[in-house]
């Protein structure tokens, strides 16, 4: 069992490193898109078609690719006034309570965003500029459907919730260590 969980942890670390590299690439893509847009507009008289929408979609990519990693590594902005609350068994118990609450809340929000994504699928909601790749046929619109990005957001939140669950398991198995300490252990 312990062995299995350790393997799971290594896997999660590997996956989170991989997706955070993806987030970095999307971010560099965003830089490129804004530059092409501006240079195109002022020097070539040809702004990038739908540039601002591409930026919006990429930003969702950057944020929601990084969110699971951030929660798994417990990289939060915390009020650091009373370090006592992360030490020893008190820290351990608080970590367990808070991780449980976090995993549950994230799951609820993920569920709700998934609901919105599905509704936008039914409504056939599309982007105003981003075109549908021509090799996929979908509905009657030429424009890309919004639900793809929305589903991605929901999946990211589900995944975040699962990773918090894994962190919770790791903390539970090491009594006396807070979530912060558990992260530092790897």
């Amino acid at each position: 069992m312990i062995l299995f969980i350790n393997t799971l942890e290594r896997l999660a670390l590997w996956v989170s490193r991989f997706i955070s590299s993806l987030a970095a690439l999307v971010l560099f893509g965003m830089v490129l898109v804004t530059c092409i847009d501006v240079v195109g507009r002022y020097f070539l008289n040809a702004p990038l078609y739908g540039g601002s929408e591409i930026v919006q979609v990429s930003m969702a990519g950057v944020i929601f690719l990084s969110l699971p990693v951030m929660f798994f590594r417990h990289e939060h902005i915390v009020v650091d006034l009373f370090p006592i609350f992360q030490k020893g068994y008190l820290g351990w118990i608080l970590s367990i309570i808070f991780l449980t609450v976090s995993a549950y809340s994230l799951w609820i929000v993920a569920d709700k965003t998934m609901f919105y994504a599905m509704r936008s699928l039914e409504d056939g909601d599309t982007y105003e500029y981003i075109l549908m790749p021509s090799f996929i046929s979908y509905g009657t619109s030429d424009f890309a459907p919004r639900f793809v990005v929305e589903t991605f957001i929901a999946l990211s939140l589900f995944f975040t919730s699962l990773l918090i669950g894994l962190r919770l398991l790791l903390v539970v198995l090491k009594p006396g260590l807070s979530a912060e300490a558990s992260v530092q252990a790897n």
Binding site: A23, L27, V31, V38, A60, I77, L81, F85, F98, V101
Partner: protein
């Protein structure tokens, strides 16, 4: 329950949860959802949060954040801090306390390409501290000039905090940036005077360095032209309406990338590290934004702004008295709260109030950022002081806080000045479009 009590309970709950070290984003979000749920039902409350995550996560105006963060991180890696310091030293180094003054000026210039105070303090401490040690500067003056100078990072544009403030209050980010310029400049001036005050009282604390001749000065200036060009390009571009804040941030990040590359400080490994770090930092901010927006939705649903307005009317307070009370609250909160959290928690409460009283929200934003700067060097948890402590391990926190006192006083004077003369903040934005 009446709006005031439910809001106060919510606020207290966040404080308790945050002190127990629940991540602040979750504390605010959780209290927001429960509070909203108690008023309008939990279905509506969760829907509200889901919608909010979906919308903020794809908002165009927020995309400025990851881009500016990336630009700042690249600039840190690019070794520009050292050149900025050398240039400032070339002009000020031979004066009494000259190295500390150079530190302040270099911090100011670094702020012009970085949007974060902590980054400014951390970067400058690695460059300026060894130099000041070499010239036998007192630890208190040396560390304090970096900690205080670093706070300018969030006032002189670009500034991550001003972007967040602009989004919370629906003010133009370009105008906010312009508004921060003169107050930031006054900040540099006042900090320099604070250094002068310290060395006038005791010259041994900050001896003069060597004199640099004009030829060397010009050489030092030549080294910083790229950095200055980047600043003028990014901020100037916003100012004359050449591009939006997001586009400016994108171009700025590209510029920083090129500069760092040509300085030879950029391998593909470092590049990926910087990218990952920027994305992660952005996600941290977004988590906070989700939580704070939910909390602010709850307060609005509870009707807190109206209640507060009623209280102000019943005491027949004048507008400026309210502003001073708010600033006092900020100074107190600043003792315990980290800057970003403080702004996210309080701006949704105070901004509607300030607006109803007929004040300009751009001006108020600058005041908020200046009190936040003060909080960064206020005991017991002034964050910049701890950044310094992290880099310069052999100096005690109390020494740094003691050294910071004259700078803190200079900050209070600046705050009073900016509060009583709004034109200092509003003149530059008024010239836009």
């Amino acid at each position: 329950m009446d709006p005031l009590s439910i809001s106060l309970i919510g606020f207290a709950a966040i404080l308790i949860l945050a002190f127990l070290r629940l991540p602040l984003a979750l504390a605010m979000g959780l209290v927001g959802v429960i509070g909203f749920g108690e008023i309008s039902g939990y279905r509506a409350s969760v829907s509200n949060l889901g919608r909010l995550v979906m919308d903020l996560g794809q908002s165009y105006s927020l995309s400025v954040l990851p881009l500016f963060i990336l630009m700042g991180l690249l600039v840190e890696k690019g070794g520009m801090a050292k050149q900025l310091y050398r240039a400032a030293y070339a002009f000020l180094g031979d004066k009494k306390g000259g190295l500390a003054m150079s530190t302040v000026v270099a911090c100011g210039m670094f702020s012009a390409i970085s949007g974060s105070s902590i980054a400014t303090a951390a970067t400058m401490s690695k460059v300026a501290m060894p130099e000041m040690r070499r010239y036998k500067y007192a630890d208190s003056l040396a560390t304090a000039s970096i900690a205080a100078g670093g706070t300018l990072g969030i006032l002189i544009p670009p500034s991550v905090i001003l972007v967040i403030y602009g989004l919370l209050t629906e003010q133009s980010i370009g105008k906010l940036f312009m508004a921060g310029f003169i107050p930031g400049f006054i900040g540099i001036l006042f900090y320099t005077l604070a250094v002068k005050f310290v060395v006038t009282r005791d010259a041994t604390l900050g001896p003069a360095g060597e004199r640099t001749n004009w030829k060397e000065r010009l050489v030092a200036l030549k080294d910083v032209w790229t950095t200055l060009t980047l600043f003028i390009f990014v901020i100037g571009g916003i100012y004359i309406g050449l591009f939006s804040a997001t586009e400016a941030a994108g171009m700025g990040a590209a510029g920083a990338l090129l500069i760092t590359y040509f300085k030879g400080a950029l391998s593909s490994k470092i590049l990926m590290e910087v990218g990952r770090e920027a994305a992660l930092l952005a996600a941290k901010l977004f988590a906070l934004l989700f939580g704070a927006s939910m909390f602010s939705n709850f307060l609005n649903r509870a009707g807190l702004p109206d209640v507060l307005m009623g209280i102000i009317n019943s005491f027949e307070l004048s507008g400026i008295a309210v502003i001073f009370i708010i600033l006092l609250i900020y100074l107190l909160l600043g003792c315990v709260f980290e800057s970003m959290s403080m702004i996210l928690l309080t701006v949704p409460i105070f901004a509607p109030l300030v607006q109803q009283l007929g004040f300009d929200l751009i001006w108020f934003g600058i005041l908020v950022v200046v009190v936040t700067e003060i909080s960064l060097i206020t005991p017991p948890i002034g964050l910049n002081v701890f950044v310094l402590k992290g880099v310069v391990k052999d100096v005690s926190v109390s020494t740094i806080f003691k050294g910071v006192t004259p700078f803190w006083v200079a900050d209070i004077i600046r705050l009073l000045l900016l509060t009583t003369i709004p034109a200092l903040s509003l003149f530059l934005p008024s010239l836009m479009y």
